[in-house]
């Protein structure tokens, strides 16, 4: 479905003042996208929920009367006013733990998304733009990463590196970039032959300039969509790693670690099992809806059936 990108490509810029021309064009484009996104009800609701959740984690969390890891005298207490999410066996306040875990999980996944997107986009764009043997070699390397079950390699690497949150993030990003590079390459391949690129080339623009100024901005839609989805994927992968015992380790805490520690608690101390799980689901769910909304906004053709 490469022709789906059509709507986002601007007209060739006038040679006299390319920057200005582009800005004007891009702004109107951006406005269009924004308007479409605002109309996507599920995405907007999700965005509000996610923002509230982030505020809860980053604003309420640090202000909460208990710190992450702080041991209180109440052991295994069910939810109450003092401990809205209950406590665990040593008496750690679950509300503080879950919010702390949310912060770490978000940090890990945002780091993964940014890093993987940056590397992947660059990798894919270069491969797609140059083509030929450069493309072949670069994409074979990416393919190879894709052929390895992510969780297997991640488990092995994480076992090596230990469980600090940014190392876990690094490991996950080191595997997800290949997905992004594939998407980026596809987009670039379709853009490469478009008139405005040819025009830029005819005007003597360098390869770097064409990639940075023309290809990447135009591929932005797909990349942004992928970036959001990566956040959700990374949270889930971190959770899976924690389950296998290769994820984030104390003194760090993460939603994955919490839900893993609580896997026996389903029928006995359900508050330990459900709250961190619910937070994971809410984050992943809202992000997926936001990604969906973005996709529709950037690329309305794909989902609208003309009657």
């Amino acid at each position: 479905m490469p022709d789906a990108i059509d709507t986002t490509h601007p007209r060739p810029a006038a040679p006299a003042d390319p920057d200005r021309e582009f800005t004007v064009e891009e702004r109107s484009q951006a406005q269009l996208v924004l308007r479409r996104f605002l109309q996507h009800r599920a995405a907007m609701v999700s965005l509000v929920v996610l923002v509230l959740l982030v505020l809860l984690a980053y604003v309420v969390g640090p202000l909460w009367r208990y710190d992450v890891g702080q041991i209180t005298p109440d052991n295994s207490a069910p939810p109450s006013l003092a401990h809205p999410f209950g406590t665990d066996a040593v008496g750690k306040d679950q509300f503080a733990q879950v919010l702390g875990g949310t912060r770490t999980s978000l940090q890990v996944s945002v780091m993964v998304a940014l890093l993987a997107t940056f590397v992947g986009t660059l990798w894919g764009s270069i491969a797609g733009y140059f083509g030929g043997w450069v493309d072949t070699i670069m994409m074979r390397i990416a393919d190879l990463v894709l052929t390895l079950p992510l969780i297997a390699v991640a488990a092995m690497l994480a076992h090596n590196l230990g469980g600090t949150w940014y190392l876990i993030g690094l490991v996950i990003a080191g595997l997800y970039w290949a997905y992004v590079s594939r998407v980026a390459r596809g987009v670039v391949l379709s853009l490469r032959e478009k008139e405005f690129i040819e025009a830029a080339r005819a005007l003597g623009a360098s390869n770097t300039r064409i990639i940075v100024r023309h290809l990447v901005p135009n591929a932005l839609g797909s990349i942004l969509v992928n970036l959001t989805i990566l956040v959700a994927l990374a949270i889930l992968l971190e959770t899976a790693l924690s389950y296998l015992g290769f994820g984030v380790q104390v003194p760090d805490t993460s939603l994955g670690l919490l839900v893993n520690e609580a896997q026996t608690a389903l029928t006995t101390r359900p508050w330990l099992f459900y709250f961190p799980g619910l937070f994971i689901i809410i984050i992943a769910l809202t992000i997926n809806f936001i990604g969906d909304g973005l996709r529709d906004a950037f690329d309305p053709q794909q989902t609208k059936v003309r009657q």
Partner: protein, 326 residues
């Protein structure tokens, strides 16, 4: 097309080798395989530790060790395991079928569900059932798989309690010893498969039903389908003869590409449900710092996925006459 296939394989081999070396190297760094012995109380004599180190070639430099292992792989010898009595090749071979049984059934279940729901929601776009299906699909995508599996197990037990009979099992691939009689045996195997299959299938289902829906929408929207409709062909004929076939072609590629993900999902599923498949083997091997086993595992799984991808690519060419291989 044959040339294309050969070229892709030829390119894949050196990269596979390089990456196997990297994996091997990382594996040797990951920890001391003698740990379980070191922790014994009483401690085994030093001579035992030395002999074990020699057996695992821990005393040799990295590159010769790797080359020796690689040479062995071509002769079907995957190197010494940390567990002296364990043959890595044999282990991989027996476990391969356990995992395949799980994966293939789960994939079929997921595909059937995904196509049904995907087509239905595409046809009824923006209906209530479309929204509901989208939401449920997204919910599955957002759920940690082992979290879901734990809930499923509890559900299975509740089901058994309600039915008043042991229909669903939570551990292993079959009862030991298996029950007598063919019918009982089939029921036993099915009872063991229900939960892991659901756990593994739901995640792929969610992604694939979304994909089918999008692909179907695009086809329904294409000029030739609209032409067919304009020519007055019945809606049903257009839908199934023209639109569905075209829409499903890309799904073959997606399914093959997702193979690595499903194999990864099996790692979790097999641990929760205690299946002795490839995934379970990998986790055990990583925990025991079993470098040879981990490297062999990754080599085998990468090979499986590469072959399947290639098959999917070639199949794609057969199904879709527009594709030409350069």
């Amino acid at each position: 097309m044959l040339l294309y296939a050969v070229r892709r394989i030829v390119i894949s081999i050196p990269i596979l080798l390089v990456s196997s070396f990297i994996v091997f190297w990382l594996g040797t760094l990951s920890g001391n395989p003698l740990t379980p012995l070191l922790l014994r109380n009483p401690p085994p004599p030093q001579s035992v530790l030395d002999a074990e180190a020699a057996r695992l070639h821990l005393d040799e430099p990295l590159v010769p060790r790797y080359l020796a292992w690689l040479g062995g792989v071509f002769r079907g010898d995957f190197g010494p395991s940390v567990i002296a009595t364990q043959d890595i090749g044999e282990e991989l071979a027996t476990r391969f079928w356990v995992t395949m049984r799980l994966i293939i059934v789960a994939m079929i279940v997921a595909l059937v569900l995904a196509v049904l729901v995907g087509v239905y929601t595409a046809v009824k776009q923006y209906s209530k059932s479309d929204y509901a299906a989208t939401f449920i699909g997204f919910l599955f995508l957002a759920m940690p798989s082992f979290w879901l599996a734990i809930l499923l197990k509890q559900g299975g037990i509740d089901f058994n309690t309600i039915v008043g009979d042991q229909v669903i099992y939570t551990i292993g691939a079959s009862s030991i010893p298996p029950p007598d009689g063919l019918l009982a045996r089939v029921a036993d195997v099915a009872g063991h498969m229900v939960l892991p299959t659901i756990a593994l299938a739901l995640i792929s289902y969610a992604a694939w039903s979304r994909f089918t829906r999008a692909s179907m929408l695009e086809t329904l929207n294409s000029d030739y389908v609209r032409l067919a409709r304009a020519k007055g062909l019945p809606r049903r004929t257009v839908m199934f003869r023209h639109a569905l076939r075209t829409a499903l072609i890309p799904l073959t590629t997606v399914t093959a590409l997702d193979m690595a993900t499903i194999l990864g999902g099996a790692v979790i599923t097999e641990t929760v449900f205690q299946w002795r498949g490839l995934g379970d083997f990998l986790i055990e091997s990583i925990r025991q710092f079993d470098t040879y086993a981990v490297t062999s595992w990754l080599l085998i799984s990468a090979t499986i996925v590469i072959v399947l991808n290639l098959v999917a690519d070639l199949l794609y060419g057969v199904l879709d006459p527009r594709i030409r291989y350069a």
